[in-house]
Subunit: 496 residues, 2 copies
């Protein structure tokens, strides 16, 4: 395990003070140019040196014919040049004394034949000069905390807590917008491309000690260093959850992955075994990957897999119970003590089973107050799932009847919702138990929006909520197993 | 099977010219009032008679102390009265000569004990007077084609092609907003409540002959008339797909369902068998239910389960291939003929496997034009899944460079996108093969929005797309099996 993030060769790549971009020009059709635009859009504060054989200036910056002409040795070179000059350009970087590079250029091992030989040449050049590099055939990385984005797409949303290492560049760039819709962001996201030198294990190791990273997401088409993967993951998982999406196990996924990055996939069960040994939570879709990261990065971990569902609508409660059961969660009955606590607050039509179906609430404030608190205090519950149904018109109507002037209603509603969401966030912290919401409404309205702003995940639909909760319970179980395995090993050590 | 929709007792309930609402008042906290508001909001064009013991007028309408005082015999009475006067109110309806009722009032069999006896009294009264009724403990129905909405929530979106019969009222009301976001709407949606008389089978039978209904959605907590369910479904499925969400099979779902409507659930495998025999496609979440309805109601049916995936991003292609494989779809290789057709249009970095990963398109118009058409013509493909990535800024930038004045860009983009979506819709019709999109972007932007407006489903994420396509393939297989079974039976008949 790394002692400090600064011991990783990835640290200078994720925190450069100066960057050369080989291949940036004044044509917005050139990938190097688009990459430069992303970098400028996020407000990168260091020096940027466009390198191009013919341009004098590029997007307001002095351009250089070769890295050899640069006025200083940049911390990082990004290569977005044609395949045939890739090796030569890296060689020039080496001669200049550049020690870190991102090779975006494609046309290497992934195309087979001559590409394989070319990739070997690239690696040999790097070795000669002691260059650490990511790629080729990658899109680089994004570290929004350093205002660094070396990809083709604009970084959207805030810096966040998800550390990503991906064998597909799309699952870095095309996720900027996707995760920002849930109020999430990346701490640092790596696209590793063909992994000619730095691989997904190096990135995982880096993210393991990255202080901004609370949870690690992996997109895997094939793991080359199996043993090292397991060891590294096992050293991280006790402190930080790792979630992996692996697609190579199915016929379709295997074929697609191979033609994509040339990764050799293995049978599904083999990878299941690797992930289980490593303490890594495996998921089966991009949606599940980020849903799991959302709950694992923003909520306290549950003590076990016993769940209580709170709803005021029978059908949504029943489908959630069904999905949670199928996902392997346990729905225990409530204790007598909790039932007594709830009694004063719930109508006679309610069902105090699990799901707790209130049918309606005598006082809407109780739903996120007294009732939720009583359920959090339930000893049989490790976590809570709460149904959210907000109909803006009804809330507005109620305010009107309470005598709130019409023009002040939006502000009053905002305050009310934020207050409720805030007190739920406080309850989560004070009780150390996770609460997750689910809804069929949009995530950008009423109290749902405020829940999300306060870091309480709300899922569109019961199945996504069920799987995210199950991922959280699975992490806890895997972590326990690792701990038990370790103490077994140390006990054996002592006995020997 | 019904010969005509008009032969069903549900027809007058879904097409009344006059309605009495027992329980509507001037308090917006009263459920009867909220129901009246929904009815007025959708612009119901017939007569509405509020019935309340004390009110003189209700929301601008003359109110009556009892249905006995009404100036005419209304086609439909809706009972939203306290439990203790439910039976008496239905009795008065009978004495007035009313033949159709929706009993929203709750507190019957679902609460057990005295409630069971009360429900029996209700049924007896209905029998005495020959009243057909839905409920009790339901929320009634919505038929937007008749501007009829007898529920507590405002109908949102257009009238549509999904016929719904639900044992939970929430899955009628709380879906108005949900499905409208996909451009979908209900033809007619029924909440059956406790099914004291009219049940989910009656509703299914009605929807089977409803001309606006292209696909039937069922939410099932327990089926009472098993044999009749199977017979009815088998008579509908050859013409119209039926999709069912059943939650009673798991422990959590069973308990929740029982306390909800008192339905007795059966083991999962039993219901799996009932659905299979009936030709009904079973799903496991609300999301899946409406996703399946979306594709089944808006696209031509595939000839089999062979799928081709088209993408320009490797990772998204690989995860889609993985999900589709897991969902049971087949991803055959392309024929030599198709590969030859594609050759001129794709870059050398592309992979002409399945997924067809273009990496990028030489001409963006080819993606939804020549390339898509060549894949539709592929004999090995029964259906297509296409990855959609729209980045509004990039499209705008391209327009600017083509010399389009900045203020005309939004309109030009709209035209461009609508044109592309329109030609894809035409390709679907002319080739009789379904095309479905998937994306990680919002559904309300760029070309994605236009796809949806043109009736081409686009799913958020690969897994939802995979399951929807699999549901479509499953319907086709079930329908074939029914047809084979029938011809077997008739062959046996002939032999005998």
């Amino acid at each position: 395990m790394l002692k400090s993030i600064k011991d990783s060769p990835l640290y200078p790549m994720a925190h450069p003070e100066s960057i050369a971009i080989c291949g940036a020009s004044n044509s917005v059709n050139a990938m190097g140019t688009v990459l430069l635009m992303s970098l400028q859009l996020l407000g990168f504060e260091g020096s940027i040196y466009p390198v191009h054989p013919r341009e004098k200036t590029v997007r307001g910056l002095t351009a250089y014919r070769s890295v050899l002409d640069l006025p200083e040795v940049p911390d990082l070179a990004i290569l977005v040049v044609p395949t045939q000059v890739g090796v030569q350009t890296l060689d020039e970087c080496g001669r200049k004394g550049i020690k870190h590079a991102i090779v975006v250029t494609a046309g290497f091992r992934e195309v087979g034949g001559r590409g394989i030989a070319l990739e070997n040449e690239l690696t040999a050049v790097a070795k000669t000069y002691g260059i650490s590099f990511i790629g080729p055939n990658c899109i680089g990385l994004a570290n929004p905390y350093h205002k660094l984005n070396t990809t083709f797409m604009e970084y959207e949303g805030p810096p966040g807590f998800i550390g990503m290492a991906s064998q597909s560049g799309s699952f870095v760039t095309q996720m900027f917008n996707y995760i920002s819709k849930f109020g999430l962001g990346f701490s640092t996201a790596f696209s590793v491309g063909n992994e000619a030198q730095i691989d997904i294990v190096d990135c995982m190791e880096y993210l393991g000690v990255c202080p901004h990273t609370k949870v690690i997401a992996l997109y895997v088409e094939g793991i080359r260093r199996g043993r090292r993967f397991v060891e590294t993951a096992r050293s991280i998982v006790p402190r930080k959850p790792i979630v992996a999406l692996y697609v190579g196990g199915s016929e379709g996924g295997k074929r697609a992955g191979f033609s994509h990055t040339g990764a050799m996939a293995g049978p599904d069960r083999l990878y299941d075994g690797i992930f289980r040994q490593s303490g890594v939570v495996r998921v089966h879709s991009v949606t599940e990957l980020y849903d799991a990261c959302w709950v694992l990065g923003s909520l306290p971990k549950p003590g076990g897999n016993r769940l209580v569902i709170q709803t005021h609508s029978g059908g949504p409660g029943a489908v959630a119970a069904d999905s949670c059961g199928r996902a392997g969660l346990d729905l225990p009955p409530l204790s007598e003590e909790t039932k007594e606590k709830l009694a004063p607050y719930i109508p006679h039509t309610a069902s105090i089973q699990n799901p707790v179906d209130l049918t309606f609430t005598k006082n809407p404030l109780d739903y996120f107050g007294t009732i939720l608190k009583a359920l959090l205090e339930e000893n049989n519950a490790d976590m809570l799932l709460v149904y959210l149904l907000m109909v803006p018109r009804i809330a507005e109507q109620t305010m009107l009847e309470l005598g709130v002037p019409e023009d002040r209603i939006p502000e009053q509603l905002r305050k009310l919702h934020d207050g409720m969401a805030g007190s739920v966030a406080d309850l989560i912290q004070s009780h150390g138990k996770p609460i997750v919401g689910y809804t069929f409404r949009s995530l950008d309205e009423g109290i749902i929006k405020h829940f999300i702003e306060r870091g309480i995940p709300v899922f569109p639909g019961h199945e996504r909520a069920a799987r995210a909760l199950a991922a959280m319970a699975r992490y806890v179980r895997l972590r326990e197993k690792l701990a038990a395995g370790e103490s077994d090993a140390s006990a054996k050590g002592k006995a020997a």
